[in-house]
């Protein structure tokens, strides 16, 4: 059974879902999230927001994805080492660490947002990723 790593993710992007044929193959809004296939060229931009819960039916699973670039993520090893280890403090200055972060793909993300008739922004979400996911 795959393990789950919980992490809070700060990203620049926009939300989409598995019914979007631009990014997903063979999926519909009713699909089982575990069977969703992300098109190869977009894989690095899609951060799953839904949860692969073992006890829920496909209908109960979230089917959302954030299309975007990760700025930082607080993973399950990031405890409160505030002053001991500033790299894993878990306490962030939103302006400096997120809004002013250098983005590599903002133009591409903005363009994709426009195609999807939305706007990219700075987002926070909790992502539970399956360690041995098959995307």
């Amino acid at each position: 059974m795959a393990g789950i790593i919980a992490n809070y993710v700060f990203a620049y992007g926009f939300t989409t879902d598995i019914s979007n044929p631009r990014y997903f193959e063979g999926s519909t809004i009713d699909s089982d999230m575990t069977k969703v296939k992300i098109k190869k060229r977009y894989r690095k931009f899609l951060n799953e927001v839904g949860w692969f819960c073992y006890d829920t039916t496909p209908d109960e699973q979230s089917k959302s994805f954030v299309f975007g670039e990760r700025i930082l993520a607080v993973e399950d090893e990031s405890f409160w080492y505030m002053d001991k280890n500033p790299d894993h403090s878990g306490f962030y200055n939103i302006q400096d660490d997120i809004f002013d972060a250098k983005l590599k793909h903002s133009d591409f993300i903005d363009k994709e947002a426009q195609i999807n008739k939305t706007k990219a922004s700075f987002l926070l979400f909790m992502n539970d990723k399956i360690q041995d996911n098959s995307f």
């Binding site: 700060f10 819960c53 959302s64 405890f79 409160w80 505030m82 939103i94 997120i98 926070l124 979400f125």
Partner: protein, 110 residues
Amino acid sequence: MGIESSILIGYGFRIPESDYKSLLRKDPEDDDYYIEDGHYTHELFDEESTFVYGKILYSTEARVYFWNGNREVVDLKKVLKIHPMQKKKIDRMAEKCKAKAIYFAAATIY
């Protein structure tokens, strides 16, 4: 068994323990905490008694494995809204403590 986690977003600063105790009054409901006027939140963030003085603008928590909490995606700029008077008050307190208030995100997963 599972992973519990929480994240807070707010406007404030890490208040030194000495200032925390001298500038604020004890919470009548909990001896371990100090409060001011109810508009501000002081959170114990770690095992070393680190406190943040400020206003919490957004918070969420989750418990993975048996999770039934919040899955929303939050637009950060939309949650960073604080009343100018509250901001001023926090800034004044920061000044007293020789600190600078910021918009912060504080997350823990344990």
